[in-house]
Amino acid sequence: MLHLGLIAALLAAHFLLPAYHHGNLARVMVLASYALAYNLLFGYTGLLSLGHALFFAAGLYGMGMGVQHLGLGAGAGLMLGIASGAVVSALVAALALRTSGVAFMIVTLMFAQAGFLTILHFGEWTRGDEGFVLAQAGRVLWGMDLSAPGTRYLAALVLFSICLLLSLALVRAPFGRVLVAIRENEERVRMLGYDTQAHRFAAMVASGTMAAVAGAVYGMLFGYVGATFASVQYSILPLLWVLLGGAGTVLGPFIGTLFMFYLIDLSSGLTTAYMLIAGVALVGLTLFAPQGIMGEVRRRFWRGLP
C-alpha cells in the first residue's frame, strides 16, 4: 500500500512539480532503481559489493554500443544492455562468490576496476572517458521520444515502479526470505538444507541485471554514455544511498538517493566544499541513525515495514 502510494505520489508529482525538480526526480528515480538493485544484494543478502558500477556500466554500454555501432533501435538497445548486464553479473558472481566478507569486497572492486580499464582500453569504440552522445533518433521507443521531459519522467517512473514492485515481490517470496536468512546466519540456512550458494548466485545476478537495466535506461533517457559511470565512485554511490536510506528496506534506496541528490544540489549552492557538508551529514546520520532513514522509521514507528 505504502509502495503503491509512493508510485501514485510520484505520478502526481509529474503534473505538479516545477521543471527543475521534475527533471531531478526523473534522474533520481533511475538512480534509485540502481540503488534498489544494490539493496537486493547488500540489504537483503548481506553481500557488500564494491563493484556494482561494472553492472551499471554493462547496461549503459551494452545499450549505447548497440545503438551507436550496431544501429539498433531503442528497444533492441535496451534489451542488449540488459542481456550484457545479466552475462557480466553471472560471470562475476560465479567467480566472486567463491569468496566472502572483505575478500568479496576486494574481488568485486577489482572486477569493476578491470571493467573500467577495459572501457578505456577500447577507446576506439567506447570513446573512453570522453564518452559519446546518443543521437536523438536512437532514443525513440515505440514512437515515444524519450528525450522529451514528459516521456522521460514517465519512463523513469515505469522503470522505478517495476524495480520497486519486483524488489517487494522478491523479498516477500520464499526466495527473498531465504536471502534474509542467509544474511542473518548462513550456516544455519545451509544446515536447514538450502543451497545457499545457488541463492547467493541468483541474488547477485538479479541485482546485477537490475543495475544494468538502470544503466541502460539512464543512458537512453539522458543521451550520454561515458566511462566515468564505470569508475569506482559509481560503485560507492549506491552503497551510500542504501546506507542513508536504510539497508534492507524497500523504500530506503529511493529515500537515500533523493536525500543525497538534494543534499549535494543545495549545499553546492552554498559553498565549494559541498562534499564536506555531504560528508558531515553522512557521518551524523551514521552516528544517530545507523540503520538509515527508513531503518530508523522501522525501528521507531513501524516494525513491520518491509
Binding site: 505520489a9 502526481a12 508529482a13 503534473f15 505538479l16 512539480l17 516545477p18 521543471a19 527543475y20 525538480h21 521534475h22 527533471g23 531531478n24 534522474r27 580499464l117 578505456l120 582500453h121 577507446g123 576506439e124 570513446r127 573512453g128 572517458d129 570522453e130 564518452g131 559519446f132 552522445v133 546518443l134 528525450s147 522529451a148 521531459p149 539522458f222 543521451g223 550520454y224 561515458g226 566511462a227 566515468t228 559511470f229 544540489d265 553546492s268 549552492g269 565549494t272 559541498y274 562534499m275
Partner: protein
C-alpha cells in the same frame, strides 16, 4: 508556448498546497523574478565551472578570467544596456553532474545562456541536455567534438580553437624545423585521439613519418615504463598530457633522456598551471611548445594583451600577481574572455531581450565571420565558421630559452583551416 507556461503556473499553485511545498517555494522567487524581467534586469550567464575534480586548476583560472571579463563588460555598459550577472555552478569535472548543472541553469536559475566548460567528457555529457532544453551552450573546450558534428545546434565554440586545427598547423613546423621522424605520446582517450588522428596525416602530408604512437591510460601515475617504446631513430618526440600527473610525466621524461634525447615538441597542456622553471624541468631548455596564447609576455605584446594580462591579474611570466607560485592556465583561459565578448556581440546583434531570443542569438553568432584583434580578442584575430560552430585563430610555437618561453613562430589563420565536417545550420532549432 505562453499558454503552456500559464498552465504550469496554475498547477504550481496546486503544488504549493500539496506536494513538495518547500522545494516549489524555494524556486518560486526565481521564476517570478524571471517572469517580470524587464530591460533593466541583469542578463544572467550560467558559468559551468570545474571547481573540483581533475579540472580544478583550469577551473580556478577560468573563474578569474570570467570575473575580469564581466567587470570589463559591465564597466562598458553591460549587454544591451543591461548588467551581466554570473551564476556559477561547480560540475565537479564530472559529466553526470555537468548535465545536472545544465538542467539547474535552465530550469532553476533561469539563465539566458550557459558557458565555460573545458573538459571534453563534461561537454559531451552536458551538450545533449543543453540541446534538449534549447539553451545556448558556449563551450571553451578545445576539443574537436563541436566541429566533428557530434553535438547540436545549441552548442558553440567561438572563443577557443580546436585540437584539429592546432595540430595540422603545427605539423609543417615540426617536419621542417625539428625533424621528420616523429614519435608521439598522448593520453589514451578522446582528447589524445584528436591529436593522434590528426597529427599522423598532417606529418605525412609534410613529408615526415610517425614511427610510434604511445597511448598512456589516463589513470597512469608513473610513465617511465612507456619510454623504452620510443624508437631509437626518433628525431622528434611529440608529447601532450593533461591532468594532475603532468609534472611527473615531464620530469620522468627528463630523467629518462638525461638531456640526450630527441627534440621535444609538446603542447603546453602538459605544463599548464606548472612553472616552466620548476626543479627537474631544466632539460626542457631548447624544447618547443604549442601555446594558445603566450604565457610569458613577448616583446611585441599588443596593448590589448597587456590590458588583458593586467585585468586577469597575471604577471609577465603568466603567474598570479598576488602569488608568483600560482601559475595560470594562460594558454587556454583567454577562451573564456573571448567567449564572453562573443556572447555580448551576439546578443547585441540579435537584439536579445530574453529567452525567446535564444534562437536569434545562435543565428547571430552563426553569422559572425571575422573577429579582429582587440580588447574583445586579445589573443589575436579570429575567424568563426557558423556552419561548424567552431572558431579558428593564430597558433603560437614557443621555445624554452633561459627559463622563458620565447615565441619563435606564429601561424596564420589559413594554416589552421580544414574542410567542414558538419553543417549545424541545417538542424532545426
Amino acid at each position: 508556448m505562453t499558454i503552456k507556461t500559464d498552465l504550469t503556473a496554475i498547477s504550481r499553485r496546486g503544488a504549493l498546497g500539496t506536494l513538495a511545498a518547500g522545494a516549489a517555494a524555494a524556486s518560486l522567487p526565481l521564476w517570478a523574478r524571471y517572469a517580470h524581467a524587464q530591460s533593466a534586469a541583469p542578463i544572467r550567464l550560467g558559468f559551468q565551472v570545474h571547481r573540483t575534480g581533475i579540472g580544478a586548476a583550469y577551473g580556478r583560472w577560468y573563474g578569474r578570467t570570467v570575473e575580469a571579463a564581466v567587470n570589463l563588460i559591465n564597466e562598458g555598459g553591460g549587454i544591451n544596456g543591461r548588467p551581466v550577472e554570473i551564476v556559477a555552478e561547480d560540475d565537479g569535472t564530472d559529466p553526470k553532474r555537468g548535465a545536472e548543472v545544465v538542467e539547474k541553469f535552465a530550469n532553476q536559475h533561469r539563465v539566458d545562456v550557459v558557458f565555460g566548460p573545458l573538459f571534453s567528457h563534461v561537454v559531451i555529457g552536458s551538450a545533449p541536455r543543453a540541446g534538449e532544453l534549447k539553451l545556448p551552450y558556449f563551450v571553451v573546450s578545445e576539443g574537436h567534438h563541436v566541429a566533428s558534428g557530434m553535438l547540436n545546434r545549441y552548442t558553440l565554440q567561438p572563443g577557443i580553437t580546436d585540437v584539429k586545427s592546432q595540430v595540422i598547423s603545427m605539423a609543417p613546423f615540426i617536419t621542417e624545423t625539428l625533424g621528420k621522424k616523429v614519435t608521439m605520446i598522448f593520453p589514451d582517450y578522446g582528447f589524445g585521439y584528436d591529436h593522434r588522428d590528426n597529427l599522423v596525416p598532417a606529418i605525412e602530408a609534410n613529408g615526415g613519418t610517425v614511427l610510434e604512437k604511445i597511448a598512456i591510460p589516463p589513470t597512469e601515475t608513473s610513465f617511465t615504463k612507456y619510454f623504452p617504446r620510443i624508437p631509437r631513430d626518433t628525431e622528434v618526440l611529440y608529447h601532450v598530457m593533461v591532468g594532475p600527473a603532468v609534472l611527473t610525466f615531464v620530469k620522468e621524461l627528463g630523467e629518462f633522456f638525461g638531456g640526450q634525447g630527441p627534440a621535444l615538441f609538446g603542447f603546453i597542456d602538459s605544463l599548464e598551471a606548472v612553472a616552466i622553471d620548476s626543479p627537474g624541468l631544466e632539460f626542457l631548455e631548447g624544447s618547443h611548445f604549442w601555446e594558445g596564447m603566450c604565457r610569458h609576455a613577448q616583446p611585441d605584446q599588443s596593448e590589448h594583451e597587456a590590458f588583458y594580462r593586467a585585468a586577469v591579474g597575471v604577471n609577465d611570466r603568466g603567474a598570479s600577481m598576488a602569488d608568483p607560485r600560482d601559475v595560470s592556465t594562460y594558454g587556454h583561459m583567454f577562451g573564456c574572455w573571448e567567449t564572453l565578448h562573443v556572447i555580448k556581440a551576439g546578443m547585441e546583434a540579435a537584439g536579445y531581450a530574453g529567452p525567446q531570443h535564444r534562437a536569434a542569438l545562435i543565428e547571430a553568432v552563426e553569422a559572425m565571420e571575422d573577429m579582429p584583434e582587440g580588447l574583445a580578442h586579445p589573443q589575436g584575430a579570429k575567424r568563426f565558421n557558423g556552419r561548424t560552430h567552431q572558431v579558428f585563430g593564430h597558433q603560437n610555437i614557443s621555445r624554452v630559452e633561459g627559463g622563458r618561453l620565447i615565441r619563435v613562430h606564429r601561424t596564420s589563420i589559413e594554416d589552421t583551416l580544414y574542410p567542414d565536417e558538419v553543417d549545424y545550420t541545417q538542424q532545426p532549432f
